[in-house]
Subunit: 192 residues, 2 copies
Protein backbone atom coordinates (compact mmCIF):
# COMPACT_ATOMS: atom_id res chain seq x y z
CA UNK A 1 0.00 0.00 0.00
CA UNK A 2 1.55 3.26 -1.14
CA UNK A 3 1.09 6.64 0.47
CA UNK A 4 1.94 10.11 -0.81
CA UNK A 5 4.70 11.92 1.04
CA UNK A 6 6.14 15.40 0.82
CA UNK A 7 8.28 15.43 -2.36
CA UNK A 8 12.01 15.02 -1.75
CA UNK A 9 14.99 14.75 -4.13
CA UNK A 10 15.33 11.10 -3.12
CA UNK A 11 17.26 8.84 -5.47
CA UNK A 12 17.46 6.09 -2.88
CA UNK A 13 20.08 5.99 -1.73
CA UNK A 14 21.64 9.43 -1.82
CA UNK A 15 25.44 9.18 -1.50
CA UNK A 16 27.28 11.17 1.17
CA UNK A 17 30.41 12.90 -0.05
CA UNK A 18 32.88 15.50 1.17
CA UNK A 19 33.63 18.42 -1.11
CA UNK A 20 36.82 20.40 -0.56
CA UNK A 21 37.25 23.99 -1.68
CA UNK A 22 39.87 26.70 -1.27
CA UNK A 23 39.42 30.05 0.48
CA UNK A 24 41.90 32.53 -0.96
CA UNK A 25 41.31 35.22 1.69
CA UNK A 26 41.60 32.91 4.68
CA UNK A 27 44.38 30.99 2.93
CA UNK A 28 42.90 27.69 3.99
CA UNK A 29 40.75 24.94 2.59
CA UNK A 30 37.21 24.00 3.59
CA UNK A 31 35.22 20.77 3.69
CA UNK A 32 31.47 20.46 3.20
CA UNK A 33 29.35 17.31 3.53
CA UNK A 34 26.86 16.91 0.68
CA UNK A 35 24.20 14.40 -0.25
CA UNK A 36 22.68 16.29 -3.20
CA UNK A 37 25.09 14.91 -5.75
CA UNK A 38 25.13 12.66 -8.79
CA UNK A 39 27.12 11.48 -11.76
CA UNK A 40 25.51 13.18 -14.76
CA UNK A 41 27.50 12.56 -17.96
CA UNK A 42 29.89 9.84 -19.18
CA UNK A 43 31.85 11.84 -21.76
CA UNK A 44 33.12 14.21 -20.64
CA UNK A 45 32.77 12.74 -17.13
CA UNK A 46 30.65 15.21 -15.18
CA UNK A 47 29.41 15.25 -11.59
CA UNK A 48 26.68 17.58 -10.33
CA UNK A 49 26.65 18.92 -6.77
CA UNK A 50 23.87 20.97 -5.18
CA UNK A 51 25.19 23.48 -2.64
CA UNK A 52 22.91 25.63 -0.49
CA UNK A 53 22.81 29.24 -1.67
CA UNK A 54 23.79 30.54 1.78
CA UNK A 55 26.57 28.08 2.40
CA UNK A 56 30.16 29.23 2.74
CA UNK A 57 31.32 26.66 0.18
CA UNK A 58 29.06 28.13 -2.48
CA UNK A 59 31.14 31.30 -2.74
CA UNK A 60 34.38 29.33 -2.67
CA UNK A 61 33.32 27.15 -5.60
CA UNK A 62 32.21 30.26 -7.48
CA UNK A 63 35.55 31.94 -6.88
CA UNK A 64 37.97 29.24 -8.01
CA UNK A 65 35.52 27.26 -10.16
CA UNK A 66 37.17 24.13 -8.84
CA UNK A 67 36.37 21.54 -6.19
CA UNK A 68 37.33 18.03 -5.15
CA UNK A 69 34.83 15.25 -4.42
CA UNK A 70 36.21 13.01 -1.67
CA UNK A 71 34.46 9.71 -0.88
CA UNK A 72 34.39 9.07 2.87
CA UNK A 73 34.10 5.65 4.51
CA UNK A 74 31.66 4.62 7.24
CA UNK A 75 34.30 4.72 9.98
CA UNK A 76 34.68 8.48 9.31
CA UNK A 77 31.02 9.16 10.09
CA UNK A 78 31.67 11.44 13.09
CA UNK A 79 33.92 13.76 11.13
CA UNK A 80 31.60 13.53 8.11
CA UNK A 81 28.65 14.69 10.16
CA UNK A 82 30.74 17.40 11.83
CA UNK A 83 31.64 18.84 8.42
CA UNK A 84 27.93 18.96 7.57
CA UNK A 85 26.76 20.65 10.75
CA UNK A 86 29.28 23.46 11.29
CA UNK A 87 30.27 26.32 9.00
CA UNK A 88 33.74 26.81 7.59
CA UNK A 89 33.21 30.56 7.95
CA UNK A 90 34.07 30.20 11.63
CA UNK A 91 35.83 26.87 11.92
CA UNK A 92 38.87 25.40 10.20
CA UNK A 93 37.48 21.92 9.55
CA UNK A 94 40.80 20.32 8.67
CA UNK A 95 42.18 21.51 12.02
CA UNK A 96 39.16 20.14 13.87
CA UNK A 97 38.81 16.69 12.29
CA UNK A 98 41.05 13.74 11.54
CA UNK A 99 41.18 14.80 7.89
CA UNK A 100 44.50 15.74 6.29
CA UNK A 101 44.79 17.99 3.22
CA UNK A 102 47.10 16.85 0.43
CA UNK A 103 47.79 18.71 -2.79
CA UNK A 104 45.66 17.92 -5.82
CA UNK A 105 47.20 17.35 -9.23
CA UNK A 106 45.15 19.67 -11.42
CA UNK A 107 43.10 21.91 -9.14
CA UNK A 108 43.78 24.28 -6.26
CA UNK A 109 41.54 22.76 -3.52
CA UNK A 110 43.27 19.92 -1.67
CA UNK A 111 42.17 16.31 -1.51
CA UNK A 112 41.37 14.58 1.78
CA UNK A 113 44.14 12.05 2.30
CA UNK A 114 42.06 9.64 4.39
CA UNK A 115 39.35 9.27 1.72
CA UNK A 116 39.99 6.30 -0.57
CA UNK A 117 38.76 8.12 -3.68
CA UNK A 118 39.22 11.73 -4.76
CA UNK A 119 37.82 13.31 -7.89
CA UNK A 120 39.33 16.62 -8.94
CA UNK A 121 36.68 18.70 -10.71
CA UNK A 122 36.55 21.90 -12.75
CA UNK A 123 33.24 23.75 -12.89
CA UNK A 124 31.82 23.98 -16.39
CA UNK A 125 28.44 25.42 -15.49
CA UNK A 126 26.46 26.68 -12.48
CA UNK A 127 22.68 26.77 -12.38
CA UNK A 128 20.72 28.51 -9.58
CA UNK A 129 17.66 26.39 -8.74
CA UNK A 130 16.11 27.72 -5.55
CA UNK A 131 17.55 26.67 -2.19
CA UNK A 132 20.57 25.19 -3.98
CA UNK A 133 22.92 26.00 -6.82
CA UNK A 134 23.86 23.15 -9.09
CA UNK A 135 27.55 23.14 -9.98
CA UNK A 136 28.47 20.83 -12.84
CA UNK A 137 32.09 19.74 -12.52
CA UNK A 138 34.12 17.89 -15.09
CA UNK A 139 36.21 15.19 -13.43
CA UNK A 140 39.75 16.00 -14.57
CA UNK A 141 41.60 13.55 -12.33
CA UNK A 142 40.45 10.46 -10.42
CA UNK A 143 42.55 9.04 -7.59
CA UNK A 144 41.69 5.61 -6.20
CA UNK A 145 43.34 3.69 -3.41
CA UNK A 146 44.62 0.40 -4.81
CA UNK A 147 43.09 -1.48 -1.88
CA UNK A 148 39.55 -0.95 -3.23
CA UNK A 149 40.21 -1.93 -6.86
CA UNK A 150 39.04 -5.35 -7.94
CA UNK A 151 40.97 -7.50 -10.41
CA UNK A 152 38.94 -6.09 -13.30
CA UNK A 153 39.62 -2.46 -12.48
CA UNK A 154 36.25 -1.79 -10.87
CA UNK A 155 35.62 -0.36 -7.43
CA UNK A 156 34.93 -2.95 -4.75
CA UNK A 157 32.22 -0.97 -3.01
CA UNK A 158 32.34 -3.14 0.12
CA UNK A 159 36.03 -2.24 0.53
CA UNK A 160 35.31 1.41 -0.24
CA UNK A 161 32.63 1.23 2.50
CA UNK A 162 30.83 4.44 1.48
CA UNK A 163 28.09 6.28 3.37
CA UNK A 164 24.53 6.84 2.15
CA UNK A 165 21.72 8.99 3.53
CA UNK A 166 17.96 8.48 3.44
CA UNK A 167 17.45 12.29 3.35
CA UNK A 168 15.50 12.15 6.60
CA UNK A 169 17.09 10.62 9.64
CA UNK A 170 19.79 8.02 9.08
CA UNK A 171 23.10 7.09 7.45
CA UNK A 172 23.54 3.67 5.86
CA UNK A 173 26.38 1.44 4.70
CA UNK A 174 26.84 -0.64 1.56
CA UNK A 175 26.09 -4.37 1.51
CA UNK A 176 27.35 -7.17 -0.72
CA UNK A 177 27.48 -7.63 -4.45
CA UNK A 178 24.21 -8.51 -6.21
CA UNK A 179 25.50 -9.44 -9.64
CA UNK A 180 28.08 -8.78 -12.32
CA UNK A 181 27.13 -6.21 -14.94
CA UNK A 182 25.93 -8.10 -18.02
CA UNK A 183 25.04 -11.25 -16.07
CA UNK A 184 21.69 -11.50 -17.84
CA UNK A 185 23.47 -11.74 -21.21
CA UNK A 186 26.06 -14.30 -20.16
CA UNK A 187 26.21 -17.75 -18.70
CA UNK A 188 27.56 -16.41 -15.43
CA UNK A 189 25.45 -16.95 -12.37
CA UNK A 190 23.51 -14.09 -10.85
CA UNK A 191 25.95 -13.71 -7.99
CA UNK A 192 29.55 -13.76 -9.13
CA UNK B 1 48.70 3.82 -2.07
CA UNK B 2 46.58 5.75 -4.55
CA UNK B 3 46.70 5.42 -8.32
CA UNK B 4 45.25 7.63 -11.03
CA UNK B 5 42.45 6.10 -13.10
CA UNK B 6 40.52 7.24 -16.11
CA UNK B 7 38.09 9.90 -14.82
CA UNK B 8 34.53 8.65 -14.27
CA UNK B 9 31.39 10.36 -12.91
CA UNK B 10 31.67 8.18 -9.81
CA UNK B 11 29.88 9.35 -6.69
CA UNK B 12 30.32 6.00 -5.02
CA UNK B 13 27.89 4.51 -5.03
CA UNK B 14 25.84 5.50 -8.05
CA UNK B 15 22.17 4.56 -7.55
CA UNK B 16 20.36 2.46 -10.15
CA UNK B 17 16.89 3.72 -11.01
CA UNK B 18 14.21 3.09 -13.60
CA UNK B 19 12.81 6.06 -15.47
CA UNK B 20 9.45 5.75 -17.18
CA UNK B 21 8.39 7.91 -20.10
CA UNK B 22 5.48 8.05 -22.50
CA UNK B 23 5.60 7.57 -26.29
CA UNK B 24 2.67 9.37 -27.86
CA UNK B 25 3.12 7.85 -31.33
CA UNK B 26 3.48 4.26 -30.17
CA UNK B 27 0.83 4.86 -27.50
CA UNK B 28 2.86 3.01 -24.93
CA UNK B 29 5.24 3.72 -22.10
CA UNK B 30 8.96 3.00 -21.94
CA UNK B 31 11.39 2.13 -19.15
CA UNK B 32 15.09 3.03 -19.06
CA UNK B 33 17.65 1.99 -16.47
CA UNK B 34 19.87 4.86 -15.37
CA UNK B 35 22.75 5.30 -12.97
CA UNK B 36 23.68 8.88 -13.88
CA UNK B 37 21.26 10.47 -11.46
CA UNK B 38 21.24 12.57 -8.32
CA UNK B 39 19.14 14.66 -6.00
CA UNK B 40 20.18 18.26 -6.72
CA UNK B 41 17.99 20.75 -4.85
CA UNK B 42 15.90 20.68 -1.65
CA UNK B 43 13.41 23.43 -2.43
CA UNK B 44 11.93 22.98 -4.90
CA UNK B 45 12.85 19.28 -4.76
CA UNK B 46 14.79 18.58 -7.95
CA UNK B 47 16.37 15.42 -9.34
CA UNK B 48 18.84 15.40 -12.22
CA UNK B 49 19.04 12.51 -14.70
CA UNK B 50 21.64 12.10 -17.45
CA UNK B 51 20.23 10.36 -20.53
CA UNK B 52 22.40 9.39 -23.52
CA UNK B 53 21.85 11.68 -26.49
CA UNK B 54 21.05 8.75 -28.79
CA UNK B 55 18.73 6.97 -26.41
CA UNK B 56 15.07 6.52 -27.24
CA UNK B 57 14.02 7.89 -23.85
CA UNK B 58 15.79 11.18 -24.53
CA UNK B 59 13.24 12.17 -27.19
CA UNK B 60 10.35 10.98 -25.05
CA UNK B 61 11.40 13.15 -22.12
CA UNK B 62 11.87 16.09 -24.48
CA UNK B 63 8.39 15.60 -25.92
CA UNK B 64 6.29 15.42 -22.76
CA UNK B 65 8.77 17.13 -20.42
CA UNK B 66 7.73 14.64 -17.79
CA UNK B 67 9.16 11.43 -16.36
CA UNK B 68 8.82 9.17 -13.35
CA UNK B 69 11.76 7.93 -11.26
CA UNK B 70 10.99 4.44 -9.98
CA UNK B 71 13.28 2.86 -7.36
CA UNK B 72 13.81 -0.84 -8.04
CA UNK B 73 14.76 -3.46 -5.44
CA UNK B 74 17.59 -5.99 -5.66
CA UNK B 75 15.26 -8.88 -6.45
CA UNK B 76 14.27 -7.08 -9.68
CA UNK B 77 17.87 -7.07 -10.96
CA UNK B 78 17.19 -9.21 -14.05
CA UNK B 79 14.44 -6.93 -15.31
CA UNK B 80 16.45 -3.87 -14.30
CA UNK B 81 19.41 -4.97 -16.39
CA UNK B 82 17.12 -5.94 -19.28
CA UNK B 83 15.68 -2.41 -19.35
CA UNK B 84 19.23 -1.03 -19.54
CA UNK B 85 20.46 -3.28 -22.34
CA UNK B 86 17.64 -3.22 -24.89
CA UNK B 87 16.02 -0.29 -26.67
CA UNK B 88 12.39 0.66 -26.29
CA UNK B 89 12.40 1.63 -29.96
CA UNK B 90 11.99 -2.05 -30.79
CA UNK B 91 10.74 -3.65 -27.62
CA UNK B 92 7.80 -2.96 -25.34
CA UNK B 93 9.60 -3.29 -22.02
CA UNK B 94 6.47 -3.47 -19.89
CA UNK B 95 5.27 -6.41 -22.01
CA UNK B 96 8.64 -8.14 -21.67
CA UNK B 97 9.32 -7.76 -17.95
CA UNK B 98 7.47 -8.35 -14.71
CA UNK B 99 6.82 -4.61 -14.43
CA UNK B 100 3.25 -3.30 -14.42
CA UNK B 101 2.33 0.27 -15.43
CA UNK B 102 -0.05 2.18 -13.17
CA UNK B 103 -1.33 5.71 -13.73
CA UNK B 104 0.57 8.55 -12.16
CA UNK B 105 -1.21 11.34 -10.30
CA UNK B 106 0.26 14.44 -11.92
CA UNK B 107 2.17 13.34 -15.02
CA UNK B 108 1.47 11.35 -18.14
CA UNK B 109 4.16 8.60 -17.90
CA UNK B 110 3.06 5.70 -15.71
CA UNK B 111 4.66 4.52 -12.50
CA UNK B 112 6.03 1.00 -12.09
CA UNK B 113 3.73 -0.72 -9.64
CA UNK B 114 6.35 -3.16 -8.32
CA UNK B 115 8.78 -0.40 -7.33
CA UNK B 116 8.35 0.66 -3.72
CA UNK B 117 9.00 4.33 -4.47
CA UNK B 118 7.90 6.46 -7.42
CA UNK B 119 8.74 10.10 -7.95
CA UNK B 120 6.67 11.97 -10.52
CA UNK B 121 8.81 14.67 -12.12
CA UNK B 122 8.25 17.66 -14.42
CA UNK B 123 11.23 18.85 -16.44
CA UNK B 124 12.24 22.41 -15.59
CA UNK B 125 15.46 22.52 -17.60
CA UNK B 126 17.52 20.42 -20.00
CA UNK B 127 21.25 20.90 -20.50
CA UNK B 128 23.22 19.15 -23.29
CA UNK B 129 26.61 18.10 -21.90
CA UNK B 130 28.27 15.78 -24.41
CA UNK B 131 27.34 12.09 -24.44
CA UNK B 132 24.41 12.84 -22.14
CA UNK B 133 21.68 15.41 -21.68
CA UNK B 134 20.94 16.48 -18.14
CA UNK B 135 17.23 16.77 -17.45
CA UNK B 136 16.35 18.54 -14.22
CA UNK B 137 12.99 17.36 -12.95
CA UNK B 138 10.99 18.86 -10.14
CA UNK B 139 9.49 16.13 -7.97
CA UNK B 140 5.78 16.95 -7.96
CA UNK B 141 4.54 13.79 -6.27
CA UNK B 142 6.31 11.15 -4.16
CA UNK B 143 4.73 7.75 -3.59
CA UNK B 144 6.21 5.44 -0.96
CA UNK B 145 5.15 1.97 0.04
CA UNK B 146 4.23 2.02 3.72
CA UNK B 147 6.29 -1.11 4.31
CA UNK B 148 9.57 0.83 3.93
CA UNK B 149 8.70 3.79 6.16
CA UNK B 150 10.25 3.84 9.60
CA UNK B 151 8.40 5.14 12.65
CA UNK B 152 9.90 8.61 12.14
CA UNK B 153 8.79 8.97 8.54
CA UNK B 154 12.16 8.16 7.01
CA UNK B 155 12.93 5.50 4.42
CA UNK B 156 14.25 2.24 5.85
CA UNK B 157 16.80 1.65 3.13
CA UNK B 158 17.31 -1.99 4.09
CA UNK B 159 13.60 -2.60 3.49
CA UNK B 160 13.71 -0.59 0.25
CA UNK B 161 16.64 -2.81 -0.79
CA UNK B 162 17.85 -0.54 -3.62
CA UNK B 163 20.47 -1.31 -6.25
CA UNK B 164 23.76 0.52 -6.71
CA UNK B 165 26.37 0.36 -9.49
CA UNK B 166 30.13 0.81 -9.35
CA UNK B 167 30.07 2.22 -12.92
CA UNK B 168 32.34 -0.59 -14.13
CA UNK B 169 31.29 -4.15 -13.58
CA UNK B 170 28.97 -4.87 -10.69
CA UNK B 171 25.69 -4.13 -8.92
CA UNK B 172 25.59 -3.84 -5.14
CA UNK B 173 22.99 -3.90 -2.38
CA UNK B 174 22.51 -1.72 0.70
CA UNK B 175 23.81 -2.79 4.11
CA UNK B 176 22.75 -1.81 7.62
CA UNK B 177 22.28 1.51 9.34
CA UNK B 178 25.44 3.33 10.44
CA UNK B 179 23.95 6.04 12.62
CA UNK B 180 21.06 8.39 13.18
CA UNK B 181 21.37 11.82 11.59
CA UNK B 182 22.52 14.24 14.30
CA UNK B 183 24.03 11.50 16.49
CA UNK B 184 27.18 13.56 16.99
CA UNK B 185 25.15 16.36 18.56
CA UNK B 186 23.06 14.17 20.82
CA UNK B 187 23.55 11.66 23.57
CA UNK B 188 22.38 8.83 21.35
CA UNK B 189 24.84 6.11 20.58
CA UNK B 190 26.48 5.90 17.18
CA UNK B 191 24.29 3.02 16.11
CA UNK B 192 20.64 3.60 16.94
Amino acid sequence: MKVERKPLPLVCPNPVILVTTQDKKKNRANIITLTLVGGICWNPPIIGIGIGVNQYSKGLVEHFKEFVVNIPSAEMIKDVEFCGLVSGREIDKFANTGFTPVSSTKVKPPMIKECLMNLECKVIKSIPLGSNILFLGEVVCLHVDESILDNKGGINLEEANPIMFNLTNSYWRIGGKIAAYGFSQSKESLID
